[in-house]
Symmetry: C2
Subunit: 198 residues, 2 copies
């Protein structure tokens, strides 16, 4: 049986597209914003709100460096985290799949499952160019967006896992999509997942 | 043409053996302690001394956290670093090869070369077991050795590069040899090197 594949990624590295292509190629479910739907139906929160709070540290707590829990926003974020974690465990136990972001590598660590954690990153020029092509924004906005998104993902991950986002200890495969190319990353992850089938 | 492959590795992860097997499979030169020979002939220092000072921060400066340069030992370490860096650049320009450790990823960064930086790591139980099998030491010694070796490599790397050892930004391929297995790591690196030929 194929492993459950979690994908963490720097913003603009193509991690989402790579994960989607891996899932399609292997014929297994893909979960990214799909998880939001489940969380919405279980929590009653709006999808946009979950999308934002389910992977990014809120701006306020990040700016002041205080614990997220000290604000009502933090309490809601905690609630979303818990529901999301339960959903991630549930889908992972249903069978092999690809899960993007949301601390899935940490959440599944203690589960009795074959999990392969992948981290995708790329040099800044590559990521800027990719975002330009996809979203057509100007240079300054992109730079700011890159920094903010990664910082908030990092802070979110740190808060809930007490680990460092991107730390090599937590990933079995850590790939530079800028150097390797998206297609080859897909090929490499699929091949490795097949190899690691148990 | 194949890229120059640098391999950084946690102690006990099998990085040396993996690098050697990659070089053999690709039919390109392999440099690990081989570099020591060159440094010895150019510096006049003894091989053991270079082996120690060419990749590990000296114990004294590490313990007190002071700069390596403040001691005569530090000055010698600097001299070895410089000669070693020149040798690494020289062999890399001669053609595709595998270079293990010695900040080669950093040293070659500004060179006009196709360089693929690989980092090999593994969970502690795997590394302990591997060292036991190879060196037959007892559990306590191994634990201490693992910590010391990695700490001194990390400190050495930090001192000369001002970067963090193992930081994903600096590697195109970061592999968990404990999960993936040594043979598959070799296969993966060879396949990727061939793919990245220019």
């Amino acid at each position: 049986m194929l492993p459950v594949i979690t994908i963490s990624r720097e913003f603009g590295s193509g991690g989402h597209s790579i994960g989607k292509a891996v899932a399609e190629k292997l014929g297994i479910p893909f979960y990214d914003s799909e998880i939001v739907e489940h969380v919405a139906s279980e929590s009653g929160f709006a999808k946009d709100f979950i999308e934002e709070k389910g992977e990014y540290a809120s701006r306020l707590s990040q700016l002041f460096g205080g614990p997220l829990r000290a604000t009502p926003e933090g309490n809601e974020q905690d609630k979303i985290y818990k529901i999301q974690a339960e959903i991630i465990k549930k889908v992972a136990h249903e069978g092999p799949c690809v899960i993007v972001g949301r601390c899935a590598d940490y959440i599944l660590e203690e589960e009795d499952l074959n999990v392969m954690n992948v981290f995708i990153h790329a040099a800044e020029p590559f990521r800027k160019k990719r975002i330009m092509l996809r979203y057509g924004q100007n240079g300054i906005e992109i730079e700011e967006r890159l920094k903010q998104k990664d910082k908030r993902r990092k802070t979110y991950y740190r808060f809930y896992t007490d680990r460092q986002w991107g730390d090599y200890h937590n990933y079995q495969l850590n790939l530079d999509s800028g150097y390797l190319g998206e297609d080859y990353c897909v090929e490499l992850i699929c091949k490795t997942a097949e190899k690691m089938s148990k």
